[in-house]
Amino acid sequence: MMQHLPALQVVLPLLGAVFCAFMPRGAWAGAIALAVSWIMPVISGLLLAQVLQTGVISYHVGGWPPPMGIEYRVDILSAFILMLVSVMGAILMPYARLSVAKEISARNQPYFYCMYLLCMTGLLGITITGDAFNVFVFLEVSSLSTYVLIALGRDRRGLLAAYQYLVIGSIGATLYVIGIGLLYSITGTLNLVDIASKLQTIGATAPVLIALGFLITGISLKLALFPLHVWLPNAYTYAPSVATIFLAGTATKVAVYLLLRIIFTVYGVGTTSDGTPLSDIFIVLSVLAMFGASIVACFQDNVKRMLAYSSVAQIGYITLGIAILNKTGLTGGISHLFNHAIMKAALFMVIGGIFYRIGSANIANLAGIGRRMPLTMAAFVVAGLSIIGAPGTAGFISKWYLVSGAMEKGWWWLGLLIVASSVLSVVYIGRVVEAAYFQTPNGEAEKATDMPASMLLPTLVLAAACIWFGFDTRLTADIAAQAASYLLGGAQ
């Protein structure tokens, strides 16, 4: 069965989703989702180990060899992202049971788990496939299920947020397909590696670069690059807590992965850095995201919304790492992708737990909650410090690499901007901490207690991971560095 692991990675959640849809009760569907979510990291762990030992794994779906057939291709970067997505799912699922039972109507619960597993299928599929059109199919699988996930909550505004995301997401997917269509008409193939080798002989002609423009814009809509982020705050705010945690931890990260694939594997740094102003555009937009979104986050009253804007800012750091275009910067970008997934999921888990207890995520209702829910808020503080980038936390490691990457290029001003924008995150994280610890509890918060153990444990695990990965960088920065040199080297 070992050689079929790449297929199982995608097929298992798909099968799980089907069985969830058959279940009459949410709890049964939840059990299936839990079982599937706990098998996923085993598969991706085995894949990662195999890639680290023997190199790229290629799996031919249906027995048809590439470039004719669809190829599942696992290299160091995709194995890393597969690991991230499946581990996030495995940590989230025990948390999900109570939160879903509270926030989603009984009739819709099986569908919620079904859509969650479908979204997982799509995200893992995007990561593992080596076929440009297959990427689009999985992109749609994950996007369509995401729209449903956002709309399934009891909050009616979720419907509008989902619709807004549907419109924008469809535009993004359309742009992506136009790009792929152009590439297909130029190269006559859909296999990403094959396109890459054909493009080397064709060179950076105008249609090739136009296709790049379409692809980058389409993917940037999906990963919520400033100023294409407008769908994200509403979607994150009004979605059920579990959906928000899952999306914040995985969806945008997989979109970033796709961006890396297109820029480095398909086009190669040579084409993208010499022939186009892509790097400059990304640096400007990333810095705008880091400052603009952080400033907006400082003025939000809903903590979920605040964290959503913070996500836009953090995505800015990740794309900045890509735009710096040297090994250190790219290492920073990729490890920030991993670290941000952990810390933002932890933060959203805390807010989901507070919502579970007091039914609100407004900063005014959080007054004094630190004394009533000590362990919960402790997790918030740790993950918050990691967002800020305090030494000893995961966020510090990736920001360190980003700053060193900028310094290596001699862009000291960029290093200063990274540090300066981190100060802004002190402000918005600080507002929550101030309300939670230095104000007296009132209303619902007065009788709140720590969230139930099944929700608290996953949150604490993620918070502990924020510290763990601040010291032990073997899984994050080291693999990210390998992936970075693979991406940069693969293109030369």
Partner: protein
Amino acid sequence: MRPDAILQIMSKLLLPFILVFALYVQFHGDYGPGGGFQAGVITAAAVILYAITFGLAPAQRAAPPWIAELMMPTGVLIFTGVGVVSLFKGGNFLNYTVLGHDQVHAQEWGILLVEIGVFVTVAGTMTTIFYAFAGRGR
């Protein structure tokens, strides 16, 4: 809306042919234009035509909503099931060659089964979407 005799009789005449044509499109998909998706849409169109001319309640008696809803995951199950069976028979996922004695037959069986899965899901989904819209405001 007042039921119209001409529309009802005409659609009663048409319905069997629409359904047979759906089957033709389904099973001829291997050789010519067509396949599970198109056949599923045509089948759902027959249900929708019946609902438009005779009303929603008779249509839901003929094609109950719960069956339509169940059809959506069932089709996916058939599709993935074929893939998983080929895994267990020693081939790669969705490798039809291992499903039969010789290559040609195996490929035909594989395509046919997968397309039936597509048919079931598409017919169920189209009908469910129609019911969801038609049932609003009741």
